[in-house]
Amino acid sequence: MTGWLQPHRVVMIALALALVLWSAFSLRWDWLAEYAPLMAEGIWNTIWILVVTSVLGMLLAIPLGLAQAAGPWYLAAPARAFCTVIRGTPLLLQLWLLYYGLGSLFPQFPWIRQSDLWPILRQAWPYAVLALTLSFAGYEGEVMRGAFKGVPRGQLEAAKAMGMPRLTILRRIWLPQAVQRALPTLGGETVLQLKATPLVATITVMDIYAVSSRVRQDTFIVYEPLLLLAVVYMCITGLIVLAFRWLERRVPQRVA
């Protein structure tokens, strides 16, 4: 056999190629040139919203998980309540509550309207970012709770026994191992987060999904923009999977 070029793979590649050629020649793509700049903007919006909300959500998830795994009851209880509420309600509901609820409350206060933040608060994206961040934090807080608990006690004890201060133990031993343990789950959760981003289109944020809807409304072409949308999401998913695979490989695990 010549390495990876095995018969079943050759057939798959031929099929994929045929599909691409068919869609290129028999479907309508004449709208592409006109909407390309808007699509680029949409892809950019989708990606930065994904990255920013995942990173911020993760930063919130760490204390949420730690509070539940090892905190005193007065920290653990609110953290658990937060995770339960976030995980127990639809993201669309959270998004709308923030945008239509909080967002319509703010203008009623003159001091908010006059503040420097108002130009930002009157836009839609802050509410999208807030809702997606809180949602990610809620799910990942639960993941991190388990990850913190899963780090072997003995390793923390060894750190303690060598006179490491508590914060150093958390920073150098406990957190890195918890994150490493959670990585496979976090990879999957980030993919889910990507596919939660189209909801922001419902509050007028121009992500890639919103752009494809716009194309449909403008041109009455339905199928092609959706097909392209699927390809875009699959490409971003591929990038996420690769990134997490790289992260996971940084500490070699023994194959049992």
Binding site: G154, Q155, A158, A161, M162, G163, I173
Partner: protein, 265 residues
């Protein structure tokens, strides 16, 4: 008068400085009293072996010395410095405990190497990030220690890729890397396959021979007899019998110790 001379008695050699001293230590878990008033003294260079059946409190005793367990009451003096305890037995100052721990190198039954760090990083972690030793110096010292325990070529390996015996030798080197005044061993060979016990005992024997202060909880009676300068037999949270190894193993006085020695031989 200048500095006081070491305490001496006419005709006796000068007393070595005291490394670890425990007075009337008690520890309860809930209503179960695991240690019921244990006193122990280790001078520098002493090798104290603690033996006893399961549930005798020997591991708890060892873990109280560096406050992995909080004693219920008693006094603990490390290197001449008494650990200040609140009336309920908890340490008054976390800082003091942390500093005392840095003078004690602990080796665990389950090795407890940090699995996300290489063997070398395990050895340099505390010197570099807690004690402020320059990295180059810490690495040089760590490599010397690894060579000493026969693991120089494993410096870049992760713990999961090492055998149990190698992991325990690395753990001993890690404990030595903080240059402790005394070593605490908590059943260091109990989790090892029989054929790997020897390599770890050799390292410990080596440390005893260079005059290190050690407190060793062990099930290896032959080894205890060979390396210890003092043996303590613990039963039900009390010292049932203690003395030099020859006397304790050669001519046990109490019936319990006789029975115990017979059961483990």
């Amino acid at each position: 008068m200048g500095q006081a001379a070491p305490e001496t008695f006419a005709g006796l050699p000068p007393v070595r400085p005291e490394a670890i001293r425990i007075d009337d230590l008690r520890k309860s878990f809930g209503t179960v009293e695991v240690l019921r008033g244990v006193s122990l003294r280790a001078c520098e260079g002493d090798v104290v072996a603690i033996i006893g059946g399961s549930g005798s409190g020997k591991s708890t005793l060892l873990r109280c010395i560096n406050f992995l367990e909080t004693p219920t009451s008693g006094r603990i003096v490390i290197g001449g410095e008494e650990i200040v305890l609140r009336p309920d037995g908890t340490p008054a100052s976390r800082r003091q405990i942390e500093q005392a721990r840095r003078r004690l190198g602990m080796v665990f039954q389950q090795f407890n190497l940090w699995s996300h760090k290489t063997v070398l990083e395990n050895l340099t972690e505390v010197p570099v990030h807690v004690l402020g030793v320059p990295r180059a110096e810490a690495v040089a010292r760590a490599m010397a220690l690894l060579a000493r325990v026969g693991l120089a070529e494993k410096a870049g390996a992760y713990p999961a890729f090492l055998s149990g015996g190698q992991q325990q030798r690395a753990a001993i080197a890690r404990a030595l890397a903080i240059e402790p005044r005394a070593m605490l061993f908590d059943e260091p060979t109990s989790a090892l396959d029989p054929e790997l016990v020897g390599e770890v005992l050799n390292v410990i024997r080596d440390l005893a021979a260079e005059g290190r202060t050690m407190i060793l909880v062990t099930h290896e009676m032959k080894f205890a007899r060979e390396v210890a300068s003092h043996v303590i037999y613990l039963h039900n949270g009390l010292i049932e019998e203690q003395g030099p190894p020859a006397a304790l193993f050669g001519a046990p006085r109490s019936d319990r110790l006789k029975k115990f020695l017979k059961s483990v031989s």
